[in-house]
């Protein structure tokens, strides 16, 4: 601790350390919340993509059934089923697009999971250790400052 120029200065430095200690505790809780919300966002997007894939899968099956019905329903003249065929193609492409995004999100989430897990370890073990050490430093400083005060 630098300097010792008067009571206010003594209190100012200990108060600053206490302020930092409180900020560390707040930060730990806040970052846990941040990590939790990050995980929630990943799961929400996964669920959203799964719902979209399911919806477009149903639509594809419906389009395919309509195309099959068109092809089967022709009389002597072959019916023009090109619009149905285009709908099947377009719906299939959209479904594939969603599935590619599902795969990409899974890959990115898996890579991010390692980083997130390591950071949670830091929040749960390293940071409380730092807080305890800081608290011990504050306590010893307060004790050291009280000794001369009590002797006078």
């Amino acid at each position: 601790m630098t300097g010792s120029g008067g009571t206010n200065r003594v209190h100012a430095d200990i108060d600053a350390l206490k302020g930092f200690h409180e900020a560390l505790v707040r930060f730990r809780y806040a970052q846990r919340g941040v990590a939790e919300r990050g995980g929630d966002q990943i799961e929400m997007t996964r669920a959203s993509l799964a719902a979209k894939a399911s919806r477009w899968q149903s639509r594809l099956e419906q389009c395919q059934a309509e195309l099959d019905a068109c092809r089967a329903g022709g009389g002597e003249e072959a019916a023009d089923c090109s619009a149905y065929a285009r709908a099947v193609e377009q719906t299939g492409e959209r479904l594939e697009h969603i599935r590619r995004w599902q795969q990409r999100v899974d890959i990115e989430a898996s890579e991010f999971g390692g980083t997130a897990s390591a950071y949670l370890d830091l929040l749960d073990s390293d940071l409380p250790r730092a807080e305890s050490q800081l608290l011990a430093i504050i306590t010893s400083l307060e004790a050291a400052r009280r000794v001369p005060a009590a002797e006078t």
């Binding site: 601790m1 600053a16 930092f20 707040r26 930060f27 941040v34 990050g38 990943i42 950071y119 390293d126």
Partner: protein, 70 residues
């Protein structure tokens, strides 16, 4: 997607950095240097790396949602 967690996390890290700077103005002995090297610097670096990775992940999620709206 509502308020992005990576941005909130960065704001919290900024607040903590300010508190550290305030403490460091008064605390400049060997114990402070060890605390800086052993705890503060690794915490700040790993927090920044995590928040950057989280930001990248949030970007991917936002793009995935936007790009699959037909």
């Amino acid at each position: 997607m509502t308020a992005r967690p990576d941005r909130d996390g960065a704001e919290q890290l900024g607040l903590l950095g300010t508190a550290w700077e305030e403490a460091a103005q008064h605390w400049q002995d060997e114990v402070a240097r060890r605390f800086d090297a052993d705890h503060w610097t690794p915490l700040a670096q790993r927090s920044r790396a995590y928040l950057e990775a989280l930001g990248t992940m949030m970007d991917v999620l936002q793009t995935a949602e936007r790009d699959t709206e037909f």
